[in-house]
């Protein structure tokens, strides 16, 4: 089967991996901070933040893509600013595909991390404080190690979402081979094209293999950390 894979298909696979990895790595730290804020802090606008984070989950993806286009397009307020200030362009680039994937994956990431933060006993954090650890140290040495399983779960979900994102991506950055044509978009195009069924099937197989690999990797890491976090002798 590998023999029949065309360079264009390899391109789609590489691009998907790049988009999903970038989206995941960039949104991970932000997701942990937002999850921590939602789980532990009481501040005005907390409910609004919660809704904003979850919007991409409940809105039609096309709407999310449309909003991204309005905000991050070259004419958009944020997109225009970034373009002029840093020369960072999202419109019709792979970076735009990564942004769309990251936004769509964000609620999954935040939910998984938030649940694991809520499961950490604040009494342990209190104990760390009495032993002299300031807030950031408490987070780095106690909270973070204890939420690693949740962070892994969130990362895998975000990565999978990034690999599979379709609606927001195609709306925001269109379907451009080599720039924004990730596996799902390539499959979609293949199915529209006469004689493209074999191509669609090959890409679908890639998609399944990558998803399975990501899951297997996360299971392996989770098992290694679960014993530690549970206080058992590893």
């Amino acid at each position: 089967m590998i023999d029949g894979v065309t360079p264009a298909e390899w391109e789609a696979v590489r691009l998907s991996l790049r988009v999903a990895t970038t989206a995941t790595l960039v949104s991970l730290p932000l997701g942990v901070v937002v999850a921590y804020a939602l789980a532990r802090w009481r501040f005005p606008g907390r409910e609004l933040l919660n809704i904003a984070v979850h919007l991409p989950l409940i809105m039609p993806p096309v709407v999310t893509g449309y909003l991204l286009l309005l905000a991050f397009g070259t004419q958009g307020p944020i997109g225009g600013l970034l373009d002029r200030a840093f020369g960072v362009t999202f419109a019709f680039r792979w970076t735009g595909a990564a942004l769309a994937s990251g936004v769509m994956a964000f609620p999954f990431l935040v939910r998984a991390v938030r649940l694991s933060i809520e499961a950490v006993d604040p009494k342990l954090e209190q104990a760390a404080a009495t032993l002299g650890a300031a807030r950031p140290w408490v987070f780095l040495t106690v909270t973070l190690p204890l939420i690693v399983p949740g962070v892994i779960a969130g990362t895998v979900l975000a990565f999978a979402k990034g690999m599979g994102e379709f609606g927001a991506t195609i709306t925001f950055v269109s379907n451009i081979p080599g720039q924004t044509q990730t596996i799902p978009l390539a499959i979609d195009l293949a199915l529209e094209t006469p004689g493209g069924a074999a191509r669609a099937a090959r890409l679908a197989v890639f998609s399944i293999i990558l998803a399975a690999l990501a899951l297997a990797l996360s299971e392996w890491v989770s098992r290694r950390v679960a014993a530690r976090v549970g206080g058992r002798d590893a």
Binding site: Q126, A128, A129, T130, L131, G132, A133, A134, V229, R232
Partner: protein, 364 residues
């Protein structure tokens, strides 16, 4: 030295206390709801009281008038929690070492090896807390607090979550902590048995007020401090070993009065802390004869305190120190007891305050 002054409105009562914690082990003693937890949280910085001042080792931790309230991580209070609260993802060794890195370089530090030896946790160092027994966890928690170079050690009912057997296992370690470490210890408890065994001084609380504070012997000899019905009520006497007799008895001396109890493993001249439970003392107006009891102390009634039931707590001043007796109200009437009445306290059981000789308490 720790100085605490606090005032706070709490649901149902007002906390209004002022006390000092000298070097040694001070038990903050009172039943649940007396305000112990509020005091502990204020000292550790886990809550912010309405008004008060807390000074530890010359350092102001809280002064509401001056607007000072140090956050917990800057107070250096070694808190031993009831449930241990060990970090589950760290080995025992890393738990123990956790606080040391945050302590100032010039803070007086305990040596890890010495603490590990004192608490007998050498075999646990590479294990994680999950598989440790309750007693082991609590020993590690003691070490972790101690190794953070604290100004004060705060223990909030550290034995309450353990069964009787485990309690007996941990108490000696608190005694070693008291005797071998210079840091003052504030130990919160509602169990009179722990007070009798551990305290060098006591702050007795009731309804948010300090009822009494002073040395353990002083406070525990005051019948007003302990409820008359309390089974654990009892006095502490300081005694000295005189000699061991051939018939298996050890003769002690307390304030010139000889006392006998089954042989204890201490050399002649050694000081011993004795505990005499109130329910093990019989009172007699006349010097009794033909009794099997060996220990009879002459004295006078210092105070009488009726309890809720038919019991009366009687404090008797003897040359050996103050002794408490729990008798029935009927007996008190029959003996015509009043303050200043002369009588004899017949002691059925004298126990050496357990940790002093490794847990032996015996009838004499």
């Amino acid at each position: 030295m720790l100085e605490v002054t606090l005032k706070q409105e709490l649901p149902g009562f007002t906390l209004d206390v002022s006390f000092e914690v000298p070097t040694g082990l001070t038990v903050l003693f009172g039943r649940s709801g007396a305000g112990k937890t509020s005091i502990v949280n204020a000292v550790a910085g886990l809550s912010r009281p309405q008004a008060g001042r807390i000074v530890a080792d010359g350092r102001v931790l809280l002064d509401t008038d001056a607007g000072t309230c140090l956050p917990p991580h800057r107070r250096r209070i070694g808190y031993i929690f009831q449930e241990g609260r060990l970090f589950p993802h760290m080995t025992v060794r890393r738990n123990l070492a956790y606080g040391a890195r945050f302590a100032p370089r010039d803070a007086p530090r305990e040596d890890m090896g010495r603490v590990v030896e004192m608490l007998a946790i050498g075999d646990l160092l590479d294990r994680r807390p999950g598989a440790l027994s309750g007693g082991e966890k609590q020993r590690v928690a003691i070490g972790r607090a101690l190794l953070a170079a604290p100004r004060l050690i705060l223990a909030d009912e550290p034995l309450a979550a353990l069964d009787e057997e485990r309690k007996g296992e941990i108490l000696p370690y608190f005694e070693r902590l008291r005797d071998e470490v210079q840091v003052p210890i504030l130990y919160v408890s509602h169990a009179a048995s722990e007070v009798g065994r551990l305290a060098t001084s006591v702050v007795a609380l009731a309804d948010g007020k300090v009822l009494r504070q002073g040395s353990a012997a002083e406070v525990l000899g005051d019948p007003a401090v302990l409820p008359a019905g309390a089974r654990e009520a009892g006095a502490i006497l300081a005694a000295r070993v005189v000699r061991h007799h051939a018939d298996g008895l050890t003769e002690l001396e307390a304030g010139g009065v000889p006392l006998f109890l089954p042989r204890i493993g201490r050399a002649s001249g050694a000081p011993v802390r004795l505990r005499i439970a109130a329910h093990d003392v019989i009172l007699s107006r006349d010097l009794p004869r033909g009794l099997s009891a060996l220990n009879i102390l002459p004295g006078t009634v210092a105070a009488l305190r009726p309890g809720a039931g038919p019991g009366v707590m009687v404090a008797v001043d003897t040359p050996a120190g103050r002794v408490l007796a729990r008798i029935t109200e009927r007996s008190a009437r029959a003996l015509d007891l009043a303050e200043g009445a002369a009588l004899h306290a017949i002691v059925k059981t004298v126990s050496v305050a357990p940790g002093d000789v490794g847990g032996s308490g015996a009838a004499a």
